[in-house]
Symmetry: C2
Subunit: 121 residues, 2 copies
């Protein structure tokens, strides 16, 4: 059972949190999605928290979890806070394979993506 968690910062502005939830819903609707379950998690200011979202995946029977930091910049959150929380979960659940991907802003494809989106948004 494979889960994907989209990890966002979280905002006091609920509309921003809802944008992330809508993104997750759009991901769920993709054809041939290689995940059985897609959820969101917020580092702060919104729910569910990262530990709660990871625990919910475990409770659903996830055997593999991919955690994707939906961040543009590699600040302390991306470099330390998120890896620490994922590592804590991983140590408490050794039977679940947890993979933390690089953050969105680190993608080597981002330059091409940006130019394509600027042409055809």
């Amino acid at each position: 059972m494979r889960s994907l968690i989209i990890i966002a910062h979280g905002s006091r502005r609920q509309a921003s949190n809802d944008e992330v939830r809508q993104l997750a819903e759009q991901v769920r609707r993709l054809p041939n999605l290689p995940y059985d379950h897609v959820d969101v998690a917020f580092l702060e200011l919104a729910e569910p928290s990262i530990p709660d979202s990871l625990a919910a995946c475990a409770a659903r029977g996830a055997t593999e979890i991919v955690a994707f930091p939906y961040f543009l910049a590699a600040g302390t959150h991306v470099a330390h806070d998120i890896p620490d929380l994922v590592e804590q979960f991983s140590q408490a659940h050794p039977a679940i394979e947890v993979r933390l991907t690089p953050h969105l802003g680190a993608s080597t494809l981002l330059p091409q993506i940006l130019v394509a989106l600027a042409a055809n948004p």
Copy 2:
């Protein structure tokens, strides 16, 4: 003469601003790039500002400027601040075609992009 401006929020953390500058440099190196000039602009906390970056494009002889908001969430900055600054420039330079694209987080391709990046970061 076509210019692309990548508009980021700007951060007190210089490394974050440098990440945006590095992204622009990667875009400049893309083959078959449909822009003669690629630059960055920051809404606040870093230089160049959006008006300064637009003015620099005009000074270089730009006839067309594409402004791409490198933002994930559609907050006040994306909805009002950036459009207002672009509109002010546009009114002062009617001979230059200025196109403000939707922000990164609004792309309809983002769900597919996210799944692809989670699989092959």
